[in-house]
Amino acid sequence: MAAYLLKRLALLVPVLRVVSLLVFASLDLTPGDPVTSVVGDVPIDQATRAQIREAYGFDRPLHDQYLGFLARALQGDLGYSYRNHQPVLDLVLRAIPSTVSLMIAAMIIGISVGMVVGTLAAIKRGTLTDTTLMSLATLGLSIPSFWLGMLLLLVFAVNLRLVPAIGRDDLASLILPAITLGVGSAAIIARFLRSSLLEVLGQDYITTARSKGVSPRRVITGHALRNAFIPVLTIIGLQVGTLLAGAIVVETIFTRRGVGSLLLSGINNRDFPVVQGTVLFATVSYVVVNLLVDVAYTLVDPRIRHGGRPS
């Protein structure tokens, strides 16, 4: 176990190195003078231009800039925003709570709704309930999250005025964004859990449990769900990435100040340090969460000896 963990942690290093390189190279690949990104569309003379270039290190060779970026990033210095000259790390750290609370709320909705729907559909296999629930799940997969968010706003905030539409960061204003973000995960988890449960319910030990006279409810909760949930765990791990990306859209619609909207404003303002910082944060957390999921996997299912990661 410890050896496996170490191996996985060691694998993080090349991944992060490539990620940081890609993120950094994007600055150079982007057309236009980076100085323009710093000052905006204000006309400046050549001397000032040269000064800014030197101050930001744009005059140095690219690999030099990259090494500097990497060395500083390792010390927690992600540079300063071109726009408001605040440290990027501060901007990202300030944005994290909003995004994380949104993701957690969405995940709670996704897992709870997904588990209930998936279990119900599996128990009632082949009935109208099953068909209806699974049709809803397919619909949930097909609705673009940005549209769902707009519809929820239209119904609950514009027409019914039940919830605050935008702008606040309290629990009430978390409801609609969390539903918007969570529906997709709920649909995916429901579909997975259903097929996983159906597979488990066909196993011998379930038949044994049934013939021993274990109540149907107990068969599901005590025997089947535990095993059926294992493959679902991987999906939940992958969902973190989807949720993180989805947060960009959802935060835009509900004008929340999170990592996603920070990234988007960084892209729109050509504020590269902000883009680098947020993408780096997003990727690192995605990789780390999936590592944790893999570890959780071994804890839930002792049969897994890590030859390879099930995909």
Binding site: V15, I143, F146, S195, S196, I248, T283, V287
Partner: protein
């Protein structure tokens, strides 16, 4: 194909998809009104017999815009996946067949691509390349390559271990013959399913990028762009928000239904897996 038509949800998906494609093709040549024509006196008209889906903030006919914009959304889905499919399969087959360092290099590259969530990867590529329909297609295509690569590589590895392939090798069949005759037919089923589902995902990602202002530029009636436009006028007309979204959801739903149906037919043992996108 005949079996497909006996599968209710697959049939429904196929019918809806055909309808959407036909409407989008017709929209290229004919729409009830000019999709770009501004009519200041006809702003925010609700749906009625004259404007079946109402008009937007510039008095443009929404139905005409959805019809004409359909090809942008559909092309994003089809072309990006065509790109991901051809590149992904090529590298998957080559890596799986040749093995060794080549394979290792390909697998490592794909793992790096997979280290990013697909939407984030596509977003990053578009941010670098600049926003346009072409760049969205390239970005979504690149982000989806690993999905096809994995399936193709895994299939090659499992097939090459089988006795009849070893027999074919022993009989002196060329690599090309073995791959075309034995390997590809074995992956065809899963790949068809994967294609339908990833096109659905590509349309979702593509329209999300356009919605965020990173895809097609604003006057274009791309469905995601139309929804972004509608954000500012939500309280002035529900149809501005509802109509383009229905178009996207219907298209994606049709593809997902088709994908599910195909999976039931071609790959009865598989679980309901979802595309990486």
């Amino acid at each position: 194909m005949r079996r497909l038509l006996h599968h209710p949800s697959a049939t429904l998906g196929l019918i809806v998809l055909t309808f959407v494609v036909i409407v989008a093709i017709v929209g290229l040549f004919w729409t009830p009104y000019d999709p770009y024509a501004v009519a200041p006196r006809q702003k925010f008209l609700p749906p009625d017999a004259v404007h079946l889906m109402g008009t937007d903030q510039y008095g443009r006919d929404i139905l005409s815009r959805i019809m004409y914009g359909g090809h942008l959304t559909l092309l994003t889905g089809f072309l990006s996946i065509a790109m991901a499919l051809s590149i992904g399969i090529t590298f998957g087959v080559v890596g799986g067949w040749v093995g060794g360092r080549t394979d290792l290099a390909i697998v490592a590259t794909m793992d790096i691509l997979l280290a990013f969530p697909a939407v984030l990867l596509a977003l990053g590529i578009v941010a670098v390349l600049g926003g346009s329909v072409t760049n969205v297609i390239v970005a979504v295509g690149i982000a989806t390559i690993p999905v096809f690569n994995r399936v193709a590589r895994a299939a090659v590895l499992s097939v090459t271990a089988r006795p009849y392939v070893r027999a074919a090798v022993a009989m002196g069949c060329s690599d090309r013959q073995i791959i075309v005759r034995h390997v590809l037919p074995n992956v065809a089923g899963p790949l068809v399913v994967l294609t339908a589902i990833t096109i659905a995902g590509a349309i979702l990602i593509g329209s999300a990028l356009s919605f965020l202002g990173l895809g097609a530029p604003p006057p274009e009636p791309e469905w995601g762009v139309m929804l972004n436009d509608a954000r500012a006028y939500m309280q002035l007309g529900w149809w501005l928000t509802v109509m383009p979204g229905v178009a996207i959801a219907l298209t994606v739903l049709a593809l997902n239904l088709l994908g599910d149906g195909l999976r039931d037919l071609l790959d009865p043992t598989s679980r309901a897996t979802d595309a990486h996108a």
